[in-house]
């Protein structure tokens, strides 16, 4: 199922907030079926890049090509989750919403759908809690619920933003096994992580980001002490008096010259 055709390509992409770039002039390609770790210090633009891919942020300049994939082919687990956990909804119903692509706003959940939900809950070992309101779960259990929902979304591209935060070692092992299974199924997975050892252990390829690309390629070649030091240097504080970036124009001028 693996091909080398890019699933996502960035063309001189700049993303940011209020004209301040958080991801600055990056270009490159993520191949279909790739398992890519995105690493970098705080403020390096990891989350911003993922938000750009799902379309929550519009590029300030440059562009991003999803090779015909639409929003519905992308499953996204954000870092700051704006979920109202006091909402009266059961674990089962919450996970079942992962089937949105099949059931949409109006169709009912048939026996096959219910089996799929049970199976997903079984995979994350939460079958016993299916009837519980989501508000009664622990942080790690809730993270597993979100993974079960991702499982049902059956998406070609999966974006995970710090998926292991507030999760104990056993649960991490669990979630890593799930990610590796998705990888074997040929899905494209991008995960922003701060734990470098996790990336070394499980991610074949890595993008080291510090607003700009520091290094991108095979994990062991990217995560060298030299590159890591460079990434820490590059990621300075948010400069509220930053001058206007002229790089687009410069590059165009060079091309036309």
């Amino acid at each position: 199922m693996k091909t080398t055709a890019p699933a996502i390509s960035f063309h001189n992409l700049t993303l940011g907030y209020d004209r301040h770039p958080a991801v600055h002039h990056i270009s490159g390609e993520v191949a279909r079926g790739e398992l890519l770790g995105i690493v970098g210090p705080n403020g390096a633009g990891k989350s911003t890049l993922l938000k750009g891919i799902v379309g929550e942020l519009k590029p300030l300049s440059g562009s991003l090509d999803l090779d015909g994939l639409t929003k519905r082919d992308i499953a996204y687990l954000p870092q700051v989750i704006d979920i109202d956990r006091s909402f009266p909804i059961s674990v089962f119903d919450c996970v079942a919403l992962g089937l949105w692509r099949k059931i949409g706003a109006w169709r009912g959940l048939d026996a096959r759908g219910r089996d799929a939900v049970d199976h997903a809950l079984d995979t994350v070992e939460l079958v016993d809690l299916a009837g519980r309101p989501v508000g009664t779960l622990s942080g790690g259990q809730f993270q597993r619920v979100l993974f079960a929902r991702l499982l049902l979304q059956d998406a070609a591209v999966i974006l995970l933003d710090e998926p292991f935060r507030a999760v104990d070692a056993k649960t991490v092992a669990y979630l890593v096994a799930l990610i590796e299974r998705w990888h074997r199924e040929g899905r494209t997975i991008l995960a922003a992580l701060h734990d470098i050892e996790q990336v070394r252990a499980h991610f074949p390829r890595t993008l080291l980001l510090a607003r700009e690309i520091v290094a991108w390629g095979e994990t062991r070649k990217v995560l060298t002490p030299g590159n890591l030091a460079k990434s820490r240097q590059l990621s300075q504080a948010f400069d509220s008096h930053a001058p206007v970036c002229e790089r687009d124009e410069e590059e165009e001028a060079r091309e036309t010259a």
Binding site: I74, D82, I83, F87, I89
Partner: protein, 288 residues
Amino acid sequence: MIDAVVQPFVEFDFMRRALVGCLAISLAGPPFGVFLMLRRMSLMSDVMGHAILPGVAIAYLLAGLSLVAMSLGAFTAGLAVALAAGLVARNTALYEDASLAGFYLMSLALGVLLVSAQGDEHELLHVLFGTVLGINDAALILIAAIATVSLAGLAVIYRPLVLECFDSQFLRSVSPLSATTHLAFLALLVLNLVAAFQVLGTLMAVGIMLVPGISARFWAKGVSGMIAVAVAFALTSSIAGLLVSYYAKVPPGPAIILVCGVFYVSSVLAGLRGGLLWGHVPRKHLEA
């Protein structure tokens, strides 16, 4: 006893009309109250009740005490405020409460200005306090039609609405319906207020949708259960409120809302899911 309950409705036509009108808004309004409570927008409907005032006043100045004109005016004003607030909240840093407060106060001020500039005060009291005992056929048909439309509309947007309340980020990622759902909810809410203000007046209209909805939180585990409980509370309050009003010779609107209030206070105290009194009953904890 049963005779005392049935007799006023059998004997008097105006009581029967009042009953039908109140039952219709009791069926349609409380589900919206449940969602408003869950979205922490409880006070928003109160705000909307005030926001419809300039629309009613303008319609009254233009067309006199015409039901259709006033409903249309109320709907237009309410929708304009709700949409403007919704759009500002979605596209700026303001949260919905703040953007709504900005618009509704403008609307209310305009309404008060218009009402005081002109108009027969006595007739406008109907607008503020409702005409529950003077509902005519046209009003009944309008109220019934609105109740039908809003229940059907709520059924259509139910799943996206639940998801919009629970995890709107996820809804946005799987479906383009997020903004539509939110705006449809606001439109249906305003429609319900228009129906309710005919009966209870702009001041009390929100009571019948909100107070039962809030009380229901203490009795049911899921959203659908809460809706069922809220509707049951509202229907009971309508009947009981009308009877209290009949026998005690007090205005029916406030009587109905006060009965809702009795349900609310009892729920807060004795509700099976988180009622205050249960916290003071000594019970041993369970096995881990």
